[in-house]
């Protein structure tokens, strides 16, 4: 297997992690990873130099954006449920974070996940999203502000219901 293909193969676990957090759905996430790999194979000869991993994140991010666009054209929206069986126990914090991510705008969610989950630098995220670093930072700031508001607001309400 070529070096290029080896580097793609090594990135698959991380791509699955990113896709899972991006879609909050196991099947959808693996569909997108599969499509990303198909595209990477097809474009192999177009890839000359650079970071294979960042390139794969770019493809995946674009594919997910296309997917959401086509969903939004449908007359009824199917809510994406967090159907992952591997919930980390009774700690509601981890479920809350999934719901908090649900509420974010797509570009904000992608920026935040690329930074905190995938460990990309701001510069790399700017390249993946095709925007200036300043835009990445404002997406990050808005995402964090919104999640904080969600977590601060929701927790007491949930306790009262119990």
């Amino acid at each position: 297997m070529s070096d290029f293909r080896q580097r793609i193969e090594q990135a698959i676990p991380a791509l699955r992690r990113y896709a899972r957090a991006l879609t909050r759905d196991t099947e959808t996430a693996d569909d997108i990873v599969q499509d990303t790999l198909v595209r990477a194979l097809r474009s192999e000869h177009l890839f000359h130099d650079g970071d294979v991993r960042a390139w794969l994140y770019t493809i995946l991010t674009n594919l997910n954006r296309n997917r959401l666009r086509s969903l939004s054209r449908r007359p009824t929206l199917t809510p994406i449920k967090d159907n992952d069986a591997a919930l980390t126990g009774p700690d509601t914090g981890s479920r809350d974070i999934a719901r908090a991510l649900d509420d974010l705008a797509e570009d904000q969610r992608a920026a935040l996940l690329l930074v905190v989950l995938e460990g990309l630098t701001y510069r790399e995220v700017a390249e993946v999203q095709g925007v200036p670093i300043g835009t990445v930072m404002s997406r990050l700031a808005r995402a964090r502000m919104q999640i904080k508001a969600y977590l601060d607001g929701e927790r007491p309400a949930l306790r009262r219901v119990k």
Partner: protein, 260 residues
């Protein structure tokens, strides 16, 4: 004691390990005396921990069989060989049928610009999200693809070479259009961005490039030798224009050779 102002951007950079080393001290001093900012920083760190706790484990799961990359690469080669064989057959059958189906007698009235552009953008939106079956004939069978679509459309066509602009021909398909059979070529850039070229017969006069933009997609329309062309893509005017211009030049130079 003079204190340096710390921006919100710097607080984010501090949390994400992007702050230059010589600013760390200033940020830490600021946080020690500004409880509200310190609470925000703590909250952002907590968010990152929650996200990592919730999704970090996915990377250590066993990768499912359908994402076995080695097998995928192998399957893909076999599928393309099968697709190429099918394309040869399709070109052969289409060649035989052309006499039957050629020209249903439609005579386009008025300008085809609006109809062609609307149909081309509709086709673009329909197929741009298609990942596994975006085309009927793959781009590595370019001669067969072009021969087949030229026969069906009834005019010699060409799939422009756009590799210089980083675009690879994914392939093509036959579609119904405003004036009958229409050819649809799809191109793809290194990050998966797609552009399509839609071509069908028209009675419109020769035109230069004309731009039409929707909210997310845009198109350039032109006519050359009684064939209308619509190049569609994401609504980034400059990029689209470069691609349309390259396609236009190639189709135009060929036409003048042929016509001359």
């Amino acid at each position: 004691m003079t204190e340096q102002m710390i921006s919100e951007d710097e607080l984010h950079a501090y949390v994400d390990g992007e702050l230059p080393a010589d600013r760390r001290g200033a940020v830490e001093a600021w946080l020690a005396s500004h409880a509200e900012d310190a609470a925000r920083v703590a909250a952002w760190r907590k968010q990152a921990e929650l996200i990592q706790a919730r999704y970090g484990g996915v990377a250590t799961e066993e990768v499912p069989a359908r994402l076995d990359f080695g097998r995928m690469a192998c399957r893909r080669r076999n599928r393309w060989i099968a697709a190429a064989a099918a394309a040869v057959l399709a070109a052969f059958v289409a060649g035989g049928l052309t006499g039957w189906t050629a020209r249903g007698g439609e005579t386009p009235t008025g300008s085809d610009l609006a109809r062609f552009t609307a149909d081309a953008l509709e086709a673009y939106r329909l197929y741009v999200v298609e990942v596994r079956h975006p085309v009927e004939v793959p781009g590595d069978e370019r001669p067969h693809l072009v021969q087949w679509l030229s026969k069906r459309v009834g005019s010699p066509l060409r799939a422009p070479e756009l590799e210089r602009l980083g675009l690879k021909l994914v392939g093509g398909r036959l579609l119904p259009g405003p004036t009958g059979a229409t050819a649809f070529f799809m191109y793809e850039g290194p990050s998966g961005e797609r552009f399509t070229l839609y071509c069908g017969q028209t009675s419109d006069q020769q035109t230069a490039l004309r731009y039409t933009a929707g909210s997310q997609n845009a198109a350039y329309y032109w006519v050359d030798q009684n064939v209308a062309y619509v190049l569609s893509g994401p609504a980034e005017r400059d990029k689209l224009r470069d691609i349309a211009q390259a396609a236009y030049d190639q189709i135009d130079s060929r036409s003048s050779q042929r016509g001359g």
